[in-house]
Each structure stands twice: as C-alpha cells, then as structure tokens.
Amino acid sequence: MSDQLASTLINDLSVGMVIAAIGVVWARSLGWALLLICLQSLLLAGAALCAGLATASSHVLIGAMLTLAVKVFAAPILLWLVLLKLPTSHDVQASIGQRTGVILAIVLALVFGQSLDAGPFRTAIGSDRVLPTAVTVMVIGLLVMVTHRQALTQIVGFLMIENGMALAALTATYGMPLMVELGIFLDLLMAVFVAFVYSGRMHTIFGSMDTDSLRTLKG
C-alpha cells in the first residue's frame, strides 16, 4: 500500500471514528451504544492495518490484530453479557438530553478539530488532521463518562478515550513499542473485566446499574 493511499484512508477512518463517537452520544438504547463503540474500534483496527501495511512493520500489524481481538470482540462481548443480564429497560440514562448532547459533541468536535490544527505535532503518517480527530474522540469519550449515569455507558466512554489515545499513538509514532502495547491491552482487558464483575454485583446489591445509587460516601 502506498503512503499516500494509507494516509488518505487513515484520515477517512479517523473521521469515521469521530462520527461513531457522536453516534454514541446520540444513542438512546444501550445496545446501540455498544454497537457504535464496537464500530469505532473496528475503524481503529482498520487504521492500524493501513499504517502497518504502509510501513510494513510487524509490530503495528500485531497492534491491529490486538485491537480487533480486545476492543472489537472481547470487551464488547463482556459488556453485551452485562446487557443480557438486565431484565427490564435497555434505555440510556443521561443527565443531559439527546439533542443537547449531540449538539455539544458536534461543537466539541469542531472546536478541538480546528484549534489543534497548528499544534507542535507533525505526524509521520496521515494528514495533520488525524491528531485533532484523536483528541476529539478522547474529549467526547470524557463527555460520555461525565453525562451518562449507567455503569455500562461509563465503560463505553472509557473505551472511547482509549480508542482516541490509540489513534493518537498510531499516527504520532506508529503506536508504542510492542511490549508496552501488549501491556496496555492486558490492562484494558483486566479493567473491563473487573468493571464487568462489578456491574453484575451492582445489580445484585442495588437492583440497578444506575451509578446514582453510588452516592452515599461523602465528606
């Protein structure tokens, strides 16, 4: 794959990741939120694949495979199992409305997408637009974590932050060294697994996964 082609593809994929991020904010059912984060991870894996093919470097390709295994399959499957355990409502509960949330996400995308343009980063691949999109994905992930009240959507927000970070690492330095990359995936998987166990326990103890039940410790 030529560098030019890879750069164009990565650019398009990263824009797709931002759209998926806004989609998660828009989603009103937990199933959609999961599907969209899964899609975003798939786009990320695609971007890593392009970078790996263009540079013919094995560690970037391994990174792409790991993204596929951990972020597209393992983590969403665990979260899906949590969803199946929910007996009643699969509605997203957020502290801001759907329209406000989407508008806010788009504004954030425009602000971060434009303002970071002239940063100190000169990326090795992709156009210089990829870093701003990576930061945008991270910021929208943070927005999801802050505004969504269910344990499940908070994990989705966390995964989105991770995806943004991985995109930034990919374009800035072709990812991290392999040992570090492996460790990051291991940590991520462990964290999601613990979160999986906890959301089950939360359901047993409080009868819901609404993190509003978690407001007794103060002062």
């Binding site: 966390f158 970070m165 979160a195 103890i205």
Partner: protein, 492 residues
C-alpha cells in the same frame, strides 16, 4: 546478581499468590504470604546495599534500572508489605469470625495482597517508562479488587469510583507518556529505547520543549490522580476508608508513592527540556491546593479512616510542594517526608483498623477512652499522630523545617509560610480528634479484647523504625536520601 535479587523479590510473592490457591495450602495462606513478603523485603534490602556500595544497578539488558530513588521507594514498599501481611492474619481471621467476610475470601485476599505487592515492587525498578505505566495501571485493577472484598454497597461504590477515576486519570498519563515517546523518536528512533529513562535523561535537553510541556501537564494530572493531588483526589478517601485496614496501609503508605515516583522521574525529563521553573510552578500549585483542600475535611471528619485518608492528600501535597521548591533543602525534605509519611501512615491505618474492629464503628465519637481500654494500641495511635503532626523529635519536624528553608532559598517564602500554616492547622485538628479518642471517657462497662502479639508487632514496627530514623539516623540512610534527592534534582 542484581538480576537474581530482582527475580526473587518479584517471584516470591507471585509464587505465594498462586500456591495459596492450592486447596491443601489454603489453611496456611497467611503465614505463606508473610514468608513471601519477608523474602521480598530481604531481597529489597540486599539490592539497597548493592546500590549504596556500587552505585545504580542495571539488569536484564536495560529493562531494570535501580538507583537511590528506586531503592527508597522499594524498601518502603517491602517494609510496609511485611507489616501489612502480618497485620492481615489476625485482621482477616477476625472479620471471618464476625461474618464480614466469607471463609473462602481469606485465601483470595492473601493472593491478591501478594499480587499487589509484587506489582508495586515492579514500578520503582523498571527502566522503561511505558512498562512503568502498565505496572501502575495494573496496581489500580488489583487494588480495586482488594477494596471491594467486603461486597457491601459502600465498598462497591468506593471500588467503582476508584476504578473509573483511576483508569481515566491514568489514561491521561498514558497520553503524556506517548508524547514523551514522540518527542524522543526523532533523536532515539522508534524503538523501545525511546522510553528508557536512562536514555531519555541523557538527551533530555534535546527533547522538543513544546511537546514536553504538554506531556508533563498530562502526566502530572494523570499520575496526580493516583497520587491523590486535589482536585483529582475524590476517589481516595472512599477507597482508603472502605478497604480492609492493612490494605489501606498499603494504599496510603506506599501506593501513593509509586505514582509520585513516576511524576518525579518525568519531572527530571521535563525540567531538562523546558527548565525547572515550569515543572516546579505546577507542582507548587497542585501541592498547595491539595494541602489547602484537605484541611477542612480533616477538621470536620468523624470517620477515623477518612480522616487519615484526607491527611494523605495533605501530605502528598506537602511532598509536591517540597519538590516544587527544589534546591538541596526542598528535595531532601521531600524524600524525608515521603519516608516518614509512609511509615507513620501505614502504622496509623493498621492501628485504626484495630480500633474499628474493637468498637465495630469507624466513628471517632464512639471510640472514646481508647488509652484506658487498650493501653498499648491507644499509645501507638497517639504516638503515630504526634509523629504525623511534625512535632519534634520526629522526622517530619526536620522535613517540614527543610520545606520552609527550601521555600526561602527558592524565593517562595510566602508560599512556604502559607504551606506551614496549613500543615500546622491540619496537625492541630488531627491531634484534637485523636486526643478525644485516646483520653475521652470510656463508655461504662465497655471493654475490648487486647490485641494479639502479631497485631501489636505489625503496628509498632513502622513507628519504631521511624523513631530510630528520627533520633539517630544511620549514615547510610541519610546518604541514600541525599542521593535520591540528587536524582530528582536531575543531577544523579
């Protein structure tokens, strides 16, 4: 040789963690874990002696790098781990007997405790800053499981907050680490060498200052979340108060140091690239804010473990402040304060744990007359708080004196005075609370069982070490701290 020592230090607890799970060994989970912790301590001390006599050690290619700064952090981890494991044996037995824990939670607890210990011990010896991040993030996941061992709503709440805030915070630190790697890649190339601290330190002055400035902000906020610097500290009082007390001792006493250690390593790189003024102003701001924000919560606190946890926020702030002032006084004071805080706080959390179990409450209002009910345990609580208040002859008096001296040398005299005022007020309110607990009138007819030998030994050992280091510090200890201060000053 160093390789062997590092291996025995890390493998002993891991082997113990696995073998405890074997059914025939479950009965002796506690003693087995204690044995492993002792092996870790002996290895750590031997490593310390080697570093002291032969200078910094590298092993396993360039993967392991141990200098005086690593040694200080490492020995503290090992000492507190041994005491906490010893303390856990009666503590867990008591909680199982009381029905707070199930029978099978015992071996599980000791396994997790050992994994946690080994995990923390990796942080100060690893040279690769990316792997260091992986190790620190792993400490979150492992310790979260220890925090939630009680399976109550409140412990679940504390664990969830800790997991979510800790993971997001540390994700920011990963972004900072990534930027450091990006800054080094034009000079060192895209290999894992680009994240070796020893390599980076040598080329720190060539790193792009714009990138390093941004990287340090992300690292300070990210790792600062795990250190408990305000305003990212909100998870800390919950997690440290809900955890079983020996785990609280590890979390407050040494895990906070691990995250602080990462900040100190990166500070050297950032300061080398953009100059001291930038990194130090940030540290001073976060330090002062943490000490200031913790104060009102200490004053109004009635939960003994939350009070100690807020005091950790305050003391981490003081250490950040001392590092920010810099200079020989400030940096030495920071290291001494770190050591004194670890020893005092771990002992206090375990002593508080004894009281919490004896009175079956964490509220200090309902714990009066401890000194007459349990003379030895009460005395330790009192001595510990006096030590934590920075009264002479304890080491914190010396370190806080150094902090003030450092602030004037650095031309930040006013900030130093403000810091000292916050320290004094916090110390006064801590003493006020504990004096009530110790000397108050015991409830009529209230008696508590005298703590056993293992408990008393585990809570008094850190304080005895502190007293020795305060009154007659061995020459080796002082020179180790001086060397560590030189490392954080960027000249080691």
């Amino acid at each position: 040789m160093t390789q062997m020592l590092v291996a025995s230090m890390l493998l002993a607890p891991m082997v113990a963690a696995l073998s405890i799970q074997a059914p025939p060994l479950r009965r002796v989970a506690g003693p087995l874990a204690l044995l492993a912790a002792i092996v870790t301590l002996v290895s750590a001390l031997t490593i310390a002696v080697r570093v002291q006599t032969h200078g910094p050690q590298t092993a396993l290619g360039e993967w392991i790098y141990i200098d005086s700064l690593s040694v200080v952090i490492l020995v503290l981890i090992a000492v507190v781990a041994v005491c906490a494991t010893l303390n856990s044996i009666p503590y867990i037995t008591h909680d199982i007997a009381d029905g707070h824990l199930r029978h099978e939670d015992g071996p599980r607890y000791f396994s997790l405790l050992m994994v946690f210990t080994a995990n923390m011990a990796v942080v100060p010896v690893i040279n690769n800053l990316g792997v260091m991040w992986v190790a620190i993030e792993a400490t979150t996941v492992v310790s979260v499981l220890l925090v939630s061992i009680y399976r109550t709503g409140q412990s679940l709440e504390a664990a969830w907050k800790y997991l979510v805030l800790g993971s997001v915070g540390i994700a920011l630190a990963l972004f900072g680490t990534m930027m450091t790697y990006y800054a080094s890649s034009p000079i060192l190339g895209e290999s894992s060498d680009g994240l070796l601290w020893t390599e980076l330190r040598a080329i720190a002055s060539q790193l792009d200052p714009d990138i390093m400035r941004l990287a340090f902000v992300f690292l300070l906020v990210g790792y600062g979340t795990k250190v408990g610097l305000a305003p990212m500290h909100t998870w800390l009082p919950d997690a440290h108060s809900q955890a079983p007390s020996p785990v609280s001792a590890l979390l407050s006493g040494v895990l906070l140091n691990c995250a602080l250690y990462a900040i100190l390593r990166f500070r050297v790189l950032a300061a080398g690239s953009v100059g001291d003024a930038f990194t130090d102003d940030l540290l001073i701001a976060f330090g002062l804010f943490s000490a200031g924000l913790a104060l009102p919560f200490i004053i109004v606190q009635h939960d003994i473990k939350r009070m100690l946890a807020y005091s950790s926020v305050e003391h981490m702030g003081i250490i950040a402040l001392a590092v920010g002032f810099g200079g020989p006084f400030g940096l030495y004071a920071a290291m001494l304060h770190l050591v004194a805080h670890s020893l005092t706080k771990s002992s206090l959390f375990m002593a508080a744990g004894v009281m919490v179990q004896a009175f079956n409450t964490r509220s200090m209002h309902r714990m009066s007359g401890v000194l007459s009910l349990a003379p030895f345990g009460g005395a330790i609580l009192l001595v510990g708080v006096v030590g934590l208040s920075g009264l002479p002859p304890f080491a914190m008096f010396t370190s806080e004196y150094g902090l003030i001296a450092g602030s004037f040398t650095a031309g930040h005299g006013l900030i130093g005075v403000a810091g000292l005022l916050l320290i004094a007020l916090a110390a006064a309110s801590l003493l006020y609370h504990i004096v009530q607990v110790a000397y108050g009138q015991p409830r009529p007819g209230k008696t508590i069982a005298a703590p056993g030998a293992a408990t008393l030994l585990s809570i008094s050992v850190p304080l005895v070490i502190l007293v020795v280091l305060s009154i007659a510090p061995p020459g080796d200890f002082e020179s180790a701290l001086r060397d560590a201060a030189t490392v954080i000053g960027g000249k080691g």
